[in-house]
């Protein structure tokens, strides 16, 4: 759009961003509040972070959540890549419609349904619920998000590079590894990050599929929050927000730097 933004446009965007960020900013500020009350400002303090470090239950839940998120994000990225390649490079095959349906449905399916159905599956095959069942459940859900991200990247880039490699006798698998994989690398990183945060975030599906000894961080936070606001929860939330924000900024910088390096290399090759 060429015509510049009107003052109404600017106001709408400013209001939207304020609405999205104000509650998060308030939460971060109050995690440093020395007072236990939200309305009373008792000065800056790290007391809640110190209390957090002594809370064994939260720390062990955080450790479980991080492992679940890392493992399920890795599995989901691989699975999502296969699914994205299937949807973009395999043309028509029998059952394609069902396949794409199964990829898109979990994106909007209410979590209580997905959680319940997976739990009943685990019960039906007599699987002990716990760490691994949560990983399987999260992999299933997040793989669909990963598929959509990588699918759109695979659709966007220039197919002729792949075709040229294959015409020159490069076998499909090698073509994929040497041509396609580097080109979709940013999408792979983004998929892994999104899968990781979705898993770290999930309460409903984890509640259904978990078992004794595998209490994840959201389950722990949820049971504390139900009892009311606790400043320690503000502190752990701030830490999680900081991790996600840093990770997002770092990965976007990495992608940008990688791109400019490639551009420079291409320029050098031309000279």
């Amino acid at each position: 759009m060429k015509r510049g933004p009107s003052s109404f446009n600017i106001l709408a965007v400013a209001f939207g961003l304020a609405f999205l960020y104000l509650p998060i900013i308030i939460l971060v500020i109050f995690s440093f509040n020395a007072s236990r009350l939200v309305t009373v400002w008792g000065g800056w303090s790290l007391v809640w972070y110190r209390e957090l470090l002594q809370d064994e239950a939260i720390l062990s839940a955080a450790w479980i959540s991080l492992r679940v998120a890392a493992l399920s994000a890795s599995a989901a990225t691989v699975l999502g890549m296969l699914a994205a390649v299937t949807l973009t490079r395999m043309g028509r095959f029998r059952g394609r419609f069902l396949f794409s349906g199964m990829v898109y449905a979990p994106l909007v399916m209410p979590e209580v349904i997905t959680g319940l159905s997976l739990l009943l599956l685990f019960v039906a095959v007599n699987l002990d619920r716990g760490f691994w069942t949560v990983i399987v459940a999260h992999t299933t859900l997040t793989a669909c998000f990963a598929t959509v991200i990588m699918q759109s990247r695979l659709l966007d880039f220039d197919r002729s590079l792949e075709e040229a490699a294959m015409d020159l006798g490069c076998p499909p698998f090698k073509t994929f590894v040497t041509i396609t994989l580097p080109l979709i690398a940013p999408a792979i990183a983004a998929s892994w990050m999104l899968a990781f945060t979705l898993s770290l975030d999930d309460l409903v599906i984890a509640s259904f599929t978990t078992g004794p000894g595998a209490t994840t961080l959201p389950i722990r936070i949820y049971s504390e929050v139900r009892l009311g606001v606790k400043p320690e929860i503000n502190a752990i939330c701030t830490i999680m927000i900081a991790i996600v924000a840093l990770g997002t900024i770092a990965s976007s910088l990495m992608v940008k730097r990688g791109a400019s390096r490639r551009e420079r290399a291409a320029l050098g090759a031309q000279v």
């Binding site: 759009m1 399916m109 009943l120 599956l121 997002t248």
Partner: protein, 306 residues
């Protein structure tokens, strides 16, 4: 060459088969189990079942299986008005929230599409970023604000708009605030995607032909953004109907949304057949919007490929 062809089809088959099998086992098959459990119940009164299923093979097995089936759970859903009210409340919350999301999200998305091109990636990032921070945390942040001695009451009382604290938390208002807040990025991003693609020359043509900016918006811009409106509305409406966390933490206890009812039946009452029956009914209710969403999604990707 011949060998090459064969290895490719063999490898390709694995590429297709692995995610296909995974989704069939962990997404599709469980629904059959949910259906089976919603129909099975260890109660005394088991209605005799129609003999349509009298196949020759596995007669005994089939008979005992069918003998266990009962529609009691579904009958309970129909007879106790709690369930009906839960469904109605969920639909109401989802419909009203989606309308609010549209009214709020459209001007924001429109403003983003109007912003200087150089800013747009940063603005998209700014809208996406809250989505990357925990859903639970964002709902929790609102408890800080909405609770009785929370910030909203404090600010309103300082400004002398209210004299006594207003009960915001544990009310439908809080649910609407939480839902609109959480789902706003889902509404903005598809709207922005469809508005950003818009061809400026269409608006110039409309202006040249004597169209005012206002009528140009309604005659050109808005109709062209309808796919984005549909995508944003479906991406919000469908999950909101089954929402659990938001009404549970922000809403009151007098009426429940269906996601909460399912949760209570499962975790508190330990009535798995009824919980399964709720899930099946909810799925049937959402089937049409889900299929509509799938078609939209497929069409937009097919369109890009050509």
């Amino acid at each position: 060459m011949q060998r090459d062809q064969r290895t490719r089809s063999w490898g390709a088959r694995i590429v297709i088969l692995v995610p296909y099998a995974w989704l069939v086992i962990f997404f599709l098959a469980p629904f059959a189990i949910v259906l089976k459990i919603s129909l099975s119940q260890s109660v005394l009164a088991q209605p005799p079942y129609s003999p349509v299923f009298d196949f020759a093979g596995g007669w005994e097995e089939l008979k005992s299986f069918i003998g266990q089936l009962s529609f009691d759970s579904f009958r309970l859903l129909g007879s106790d008005s709690i369930y009906l009210f839960s469904y109605l409340k969920s639909l109401q919350v989802a419909a009203i929230s989606t309308a609010f999301l549209f009214l709020l999200g459209y001007p924001i998305a429109y403003g983003m599409a109007r912003a200087p091109k150089a800013w747009q990636p940063a603005l998209v990032m700014a809208v996406v970023l809250p989505f990357w921070t925990s859903f639970l945390i964002r709902i929790y942040a609102w408890i800080n604000i909405l609770q009785r001695d929370g910030l909203l009451n404090e600010v309103l009382m300082r400004l002398h708009i209210i004299d006594t604290p207003v009960v915001w938390l544990s009310s439908d208002t809080a649910i609407y605030i939480g839902v609109v807040y959480s789902y706003l990025p889902f509404m903005i991003l598809p709207l922005y995607a469809s508005l950003e693609k818009m061809d400026e020359s269409l608006l110039e043509a409309a202006a040249d032909l004597g169209c005012s900016r206002w009528s140009a918006f309604w005659l050109v811009t808005f109709p062209l953004s309808l796919p984005g409106v549909a995508a944003g509305a479906l991406l919000s409406f469908i999950p909101i109907v089954g929402e659990f966390v938001i009404p549970d933490l922000l809403g009151g206890s007098e009426s429940q949304m269906i996601g909460q009812t399912l949760w209570t039946e499962f975790f508190s009452n330990r009535d798995w057949p009824v919980a399964s029956a709720i899930a099946i009914t909810l799925l049937v209710l959402l089937l049409v919007p889900i299929l509509f969403y799938e078609r939209l999604q497929q069409r937009s990707l097919e369109g890009r490929r050509s």
